[in-house]
Each structure stands twice: as structure tokens, then as C-alpha cells.
């Protein structure tokens, strides 16, 4: 059985599955239940500074989108950081950590953007014996008027400055949580690194409106007829998160910077994908909020089975394995030629491939008598749309044309690797 123990920036946990800083980690009661269920670590819901706690709305905090059978695909929230007194949280953190020494316990922090505030909060949490801190620069609501949350996370200089303060005033490992609500995710990651961060975690939630009530014309979730953007998370955001994780993992400036992957992790497979793209561990929230803490059992067994099947003995064997394969478009092999192929035995004759190709692609599928669908190689550009819309798994596949074969569409012979940078149509090549 594969060893799932992870050492993430010196913080050990029995498995790479942590609960993200979020509603499930706001109280001792929840966190104890999480550890009992088997979670490897917990990032305690964000603490603010000393003083009267923030207040939350008293109406709905969450909005959602669903699949047909009410499968929750995406969730958004307008909840703020913890609305419980700082002292209560600190006492509970200490109590939990005392009983669960083998689990990772990280404290998420968000205080005003001045050195004193950070110094003060770091001092206050020292006594909890927590394993590290995560700087919440990503909360979409933040408290922008007080210079917190995404107001900081969207300005790389602030990230660097605050991170430097934290490293200066604390010996704890420091994770900087990044907001995706920014155009280039590498910039805040670089800033965190410059500031001395031990790791980054991403993504925080995405600014979103889940839906509009077409009777009352209010955005959802609705508070007294009004709505505001909330932070979007859940399965729907995973592709966005994977890309941002990969961007940081493969960028020369940030390569090697430990990453805690967040964003729609719902199953062991999602976790493995984040790890393959460079995440040392993952943080989970929506899946736990949807199904309860028990899902971690499937994540543990699934990742173990996968690693065993692949002959991997530790999570380090998996982390980053896919990173070298993430590249820029101009380096993709233009001599990799494939053609769609329809398995007539598996085909159920629904014709979706035909409709998709005929209406929206390249008219490369013929509909023959008897509802037989056949690819026209001379027209197929291998776009993959038919594969994606086919309701039968593996019915339509992409078959690679061997080197030396002639592509009936272009008349060109399939040659060796060649990309855009050397392509005759590339103006910068022609200029030389």
C-alpha cells in the first residue's frame, strides 16, 4: 500500500488531503469531526485581528448551480472570515492541536495591511502550536475598505511586503493563498516568493454570480432582493485552478515553489491531477460541504490504489510528473496528425457527432443510410469535438497517423516534430 504521508514545507500529515480555510474549519467541533473522519490536515478558517468580529449576512450565504439530478456542480458564497471572537478560535485551535499532533493544522490569517497588525496577530497565535499560517489574500470580499483580502492579493507589491513582515515576525511556515481574480497568476506567486513565502496555495474562489432569479430579478444568493458577487468554487472551477497551478509550477521564476492545490477537488482523481501538475498536497472544501467529511476515505483509498497500480511508493513520486508536459502553444508538434475514428460496434447512432461536425465544425462526418456515421478523413481536422459530444465513452477516438503517411486533408506527409516557431507561415520566421 502506497505511503500517503506528506511533508509539505516541513509540515507533516498522514495524507495530502487538507480541508481548506472555509466554513467547515471554523470551529473546534467541525475540525475534530474532520480529523476523526481521516483528513490529513486543516486550514482553520481565517482569523481577523483583535476586536469586534466581522458580521455575516443573516440570509443565504451560498448560491449554487446543479446538474439535472441536483448534482451540485458549483457553489458560491458571500461568507466573510470567521465571525467568532479571536480568543475563542485561538483556544479551540490549541485544544484541537493538542489532541491531534499527527495532523496538520494551519491558521489562515487576514488582518489590515500594516506591519503592526500582522506582528500582533502572529504573536497571538504563537501559543497555539499550530503548524503554520496561510495568508488569506484571496477572499473576494476581503475587507477592501480596510486593505484586506483580494485588495492585497491583486497587488503583487503588497503581497511581497506582507509576506516579508510575516516571515520577519514568525518562525512558522508561511503559505500565501492566491486569488484567481487577476490576469496573470504568476505575478502574485513571484511576489510571494520574493517576500519569502514557503509555499503558495491556490486558487481562492472566483468572483461570480451563480444565477439570476427571473421573477424577482435579483442575483443569487439573494439578500432582501439584492445580491452581490460571491466566491465560486466546486467541481466547475477545477480546470481554471489546474491551469493556474501549472502556470506557477512551470514558470522559471516560481518553479520549485511548493504549491497547495485548491479548486474543485472532489475525488482522489482530482487530487492526483493537481499533484501531477505540481501541487504537494490539496485542499478541499466544496466536496466536503456537499457530501460531508466521509469522502476523504474514498480519496485516501483511491489515491493509494492508483499509486500502487503505478508503482509509486510516496506522493513525491507523483508530484510534478505532468509539469514537463505543460508547454506553450507554439511548441506543440504541428506534425502530430490524428483522425477521428468511430467504433461502429459501440455507436448507438444518436448522430450527435454528425450534428456537431456538420453545424459547428468541418463537415467531416458523413451520415449514411441506416444512421451509420463515418468520418471523412479528407475533411477531419481532428478537432475532437465529436469525441467530446459522443455520449458513449471510447466510441470515437483519435488515431494518430504514422510518420510517412499522407494526410488526405492536406496532402502533406506526416513528418518529424515541428512547431510554429519554425513554420513558414510564422511572420517572425519569414522575417529572418
Amino acid at each position: 500500500m502506497a505511503n500517503l504521508t506528506t511533508d509539505f514545507i516541513g509540515i507533516k500529515s498522514p495524507n495530502p488531503f487538507w480541508l481548506a480555510s472555509a466554513p467547515p474549519t471554523d470551529k473546534e467541533y467541525n475540525v475534530r469531526r474532520a480529523f476523526e473522519a481521516g483528513w490529513g490536515g486543516v486550514v482553520w478558517k481565517t482569523l481577523g485581528s483583535e476586536g469586534p468580529p466581522v458580521v455575516n449576512v443573516n440570509g443565504p450565504r451560498y448560491g449554487a448551480i446543479w446538474g439535472a439530478d441536483r448534482r451540485l456542480l458549483g457553489l458560491n458564497n458571500i461568507e466573510l472570515i470567521t465571525d467568532r471572537p479571536l480568543e475563542v478560535n485561538l483556544r479551540e485551535i490549541k485544544s484541537v492541536k493538542r489532541d491531534w499532533k499527527d495532523r496538520a493544522l494551519i491558521i489562515s490569517l487576514m488582518v489590515p495591511c500594516d506591519e503592526e497588525s500582522w506582528k500582533d496577530i502572529l504573536h497571538r497565535i504563537e501559543d497555539t502550536e499550530a503548524d503554520g499560517v496561510e495568508l488569506n489574500f484571496g477572499c473576494p470580499h476581503g475587507m477592501a475598505e480596510r486593505g484586506m483580502g483580494s485588495a492585497v492579493g491583486q497587488v503583487p507589491e503588497y503581497i511581497e511586503m506582507v509576506t516579508r513582515w510575516v516571515k520577519q515576525h514568525s518562525r512558522m511556515p508561511c503559505i500565501v493563498k492566491l486569488t484567481p481574480n487577476i490576469s496573470d497568476i504568476r505575478k502574485p506567486a513571484e511576489a510571494a516568493k520574493r517576500g519569502g513565502a514557503d509555499a503558495v496555495s491556490l486558487i481562492n474562489t472566483i468572483n461570480s454570480i451563480t444565477s439570476v432569479n427571473l421573477d424577482s430579478f435579483s442575483p443569487e444568493p439573494m439578500i432582501d432582493g439584492k445580491g452581490t458577487h460571491g466566491g465560486y468554487c466546486g467541481p466547475a472551477v477545477k480546470p481554471i485552478a489546474l491551469n493556474m497551478v501549472a502556470e506557477i509550477a512551470r514558470s522559471p521564476e516560481t518553479h520549485g515553489l511548493p504549491i497547495s492545490g485548491i479548486g474543485g477537488v472532489t475525488t482522489w482523481r482530482d487530487a492526483a491531477e493537481f499533484m501531477a501538475l505540481g501541487a504537494g498536497n490539496v485542499q478541499v472544501c466544496t466536496a466536503a460541504m456537499t457530501y460531508g467529511f466521509k469522502i476523504v476515505q474514498e480519496m485516501i483509498s483511491g489515491l493509494s490504489q492508483y499509486m500502487d497500480d503505478k508503482g509509486m511508493t510516496s506522493t513525491a513520486d507523483l508530484v510534478g510528473r505532468a509539469v514537463p508536459n505543460v508547454t506553450d502553444w507554439q511548441f506543440l508538434n504541428l506534425n502530430y496528425v490524428t483522425k477521428a475514428q468511430i467504433d461502429q460496434d459501440l455507436c448507438i447512432k444518436c448522430g450527435r457527432c454528425y450534428a456537431a461536425c456538420e453545424d459547428t465544425s468541418h463537415q467531416a462526418i458523413a451520415m449514411l443510410p441506416g444512421r451509420v456515421f463515418e468520418v471523412k478523413d479528407e475533411d477531419c481536422v481532428a478537432c475532437n469535438l465529436c469525441v467530446n459530444v459522443c455520449p458513449v465513452e471510447n466510441c470515437i477516438t483519435m488515431t494518430e497517423m504514422p510518420k510517412g503517411a499522407v494526410d488526405p486533408r492536406t496532402g502533406d506527409t506526416v513528418g518529424d516534430y515541428a512547431n510554429w516557431t519554425t513554420h513558414p507561415n510564422n511572420p517572425s520566421v519569414a522575417a529572418e
Binding site: 446538474g67 439535472a68 439530478d69 441536483r70 448507438i348 447512432k349 444518436c350 448522430g351 450527435r352 454528425y354 450534428a355 451520415m367 444512421r371 455520449p391 458513449v392
Partner: protein, 441 residues
Amino acid sequence: MTNSPLTPGIAPARLPADRIVGNFADHEPPLDQHEAHVAADRCYFCHDAPCVTACPTSIDIPLFIRQIATGTAESAATTIWTQNILGGMCARVCPTETLCEEVCVREVAEGKPVEIGRLQRFATDTAMARGLHPFARAAATGRTVAVVGAGPAGLACAHRLALHGHEVMVYERRAKAGGLNEYGIASYKSTGNFAQREVEWLLQIGGITVQTGVELGRDIKLEGLLAMHDAVFLGIGLGGVNALRAAGEDKAGVANAVDFIAELRQTDDLTTLPVGRDVVVIGGGMTAVDAAVQSKLLGAENVTIVYRRGQDRMSASGYEQEHATSVGVRIICNAAPVAVHGNGAVREVEFGYVADTADGLQPTGETFRLKADQVFKAIGQTLSGVPAGAALEGGKIAGLPARVWAGGDCTGGGEDLTVTAVAQGRDAAEAIHVSLMGVAG
């Protein structure tokens, strides 16, 4: 004395009242909203969908299912009704397992089709519950059309004619409109007086007058109708019933299955409807199954369907046959009635086994007898009351005088199904419209 399934002879209330009520409740309960959304999500929205081709009325099934999936069941109903104005009844009685659902790609792939029939019912029920009738008559044309028979074909024809602005007079020989929807469908398929509710809903279009108790040939003549109207549509169905041609079929207790089904449909309190202890139904179609199943549901102890050919030749669908056997009906195949025995009333039916050979059905010489105190004949209906001037072919109307059209079971082309009748009535209305106005559409 309380009756039971074991009470000899033909007797009412063989089961407690609540059991009988339960037995005749909705055979397949309607989908609720969530179930409908889940069922609708299974539709692949096929290109040139096979289900549409299989539907005699060519309802755009993928479109109406997508409309349900997106929360607009009322629009779905409009899609359905545009092709099939009796879509509500067809959703209940269509043998979908041999039509749209049989060719659903998910039936072919997984043996589990999209539940098209139930989804159609969800859409039409939803819209009818809101009182929607999404059709408005065109400006009056000043033309009038007579429709003979207020069954599915006649009603579909009348609605489409009225839609085009014509004035329609419907003549119906029975006391109520609806035809087989009212008199010929198993009760548990059309609960809650649905047939009448649907007729009332359909007549909301306006411009249609229904006269009941008026029979062609007796009260009115085709020549008279042609003198009064610009065109005539005949949707007279099949008024006659085939005889067994077995000795003793005139004995008491031997009845036509269609009459039993009609009587049952018109009985408000089913505990008053008598049924035999040993019921034998002769035939292999839907009528046989409906009579047999309902006999069983009324509390008959033994109900047997006897069909002269092999089971695979039964015109009742596999689904219907299974339904029959699931309620305890026995099906005997390859046997034909030889004689009905009894002293005044039927006591036994004698059958001879027959082999289905290249030279037709041949008796094997072996016979057997079934106890019976009630026998239902369900070996097919025949055309009756055909007006002079109509040419017949294969027992169906095949040629008509000028200005006369026909559709439904009295004509050929397609199976004798509600949905086929609707398609023929609708198409005849379009043909009549073109003929009257000299333009298409």
C-alpha cells in the same frame, strides 16, 4: 353474502371496494417535476432522431424533452400538441415500447429508453393544469365541414379544421365524444375522466359543435351532409366485431370484449360491475389484454387469454403481455375455439390446438377445455355502416366520393392506434383545408 373471487358465476364486488379502487388507479403514476427533469436529462437530443420518425404524428420529441429539461413544460406541450392534439391521451395509451421508445438510441444501447411517454404526459398534464390551450383560430373562412365520429381521428381533424377557421360540425353516434378514448381504453390508463377532460380542452379552440346520439346511416346520410357542408370527414372507426364461428357462441355469458371494456369505462362504481369467476378471453391484441387484465383486477379467480397463433404473433406488445401475466392472467397460444359448452349459459370453452403452417393454421387434432362462466371475444373489429359510394379494400375504406375524406381505424395505412388515427385526422384536415381554400397551409 359477500362475494369473493371464488363466488361461482358472474358476480360483482369480488374484491373489497378499496382493492378495486386501488387496482384501477393510475397504471403508471405521473412523473413529478424532479423525476421529469432527471428523465429529460437522459435524452441525447439525437440528430434526425429515430423517435420522431417512429411517432405516427412525428412529434419533435427531442425538442419537447429539452423544453422540459429547461423548465418550460408548457412550451413542451405546445410542441407536442402542434403535431398531436390528443398528445395527453397518447402519452397514456400509446404502445411507446413499440414506437418511439423502441427506437430510442438508449433502448438500443442500454435496454432503457428515455421515458418519452411519461415525459409527454408530464408536459401535457402541466399545461392542461394551467388551463393552457395554446392555439388561436384563424379568421373565419365561411366554410363548414362535417366530421362523422368524435373519436381520435374525428377530434384531431375537427381541431385542425377549426384552427384554420372553418366551422366544424361533429356527429357522434354514442352519448359522449371521445371514441375509443372514452369507450375502448383500459380504465387504469385513463383515470380521472381524462378522455372527457381532454375533449373539453380540445373544444376550447372554438368553432366546433358536437352532436351526440347521431348515427350515420340511421339519422344522417352522407348525401345530406354533403348538401349541408363543404366537405365531410369520416372517422367512424370499426363498429362491428368478428364472430368466433364456434358452435355455441350465442350462449349467455359470451360477450364482446369491446362492450365489456366500454361498460367498465362507463361504470362509476366498479364494485357494481359483475365479472366471472372463470374468464376466458379469446384473441391476441390490446383489446384482449385490456379485457383480461381488467377482469382480473375486478376479482376474477382465473383469467385466461387464448390466442390461435404463437405468442410472437400477438399484436399486444410484449410490455402489455407482461403486464397481463404480472397481474395473474394466463396466456395460452396456438389454440382456437372449437365450441362453447353449457346449458344456456357458458360453462366451458373447448379449444383445439392449431399449428401455424405455410398452408395456414392447421388443427392438430388435440383439444382441451377451459372452465368459463364469462367469455370475451376479442378477435378483431370490422367496419360497419359504410356509406354508399365508399370503396373498400381489405375491409377498410380505400376510396371515397368527391369532397369526402376519411381517417382512423376505418381506413388502412398504419396500425389501429389512437396516435395513428390522430395523424390521419390531422392530415385529412390539412388536405380538406387545401381543397377548400386552394392554398397550402
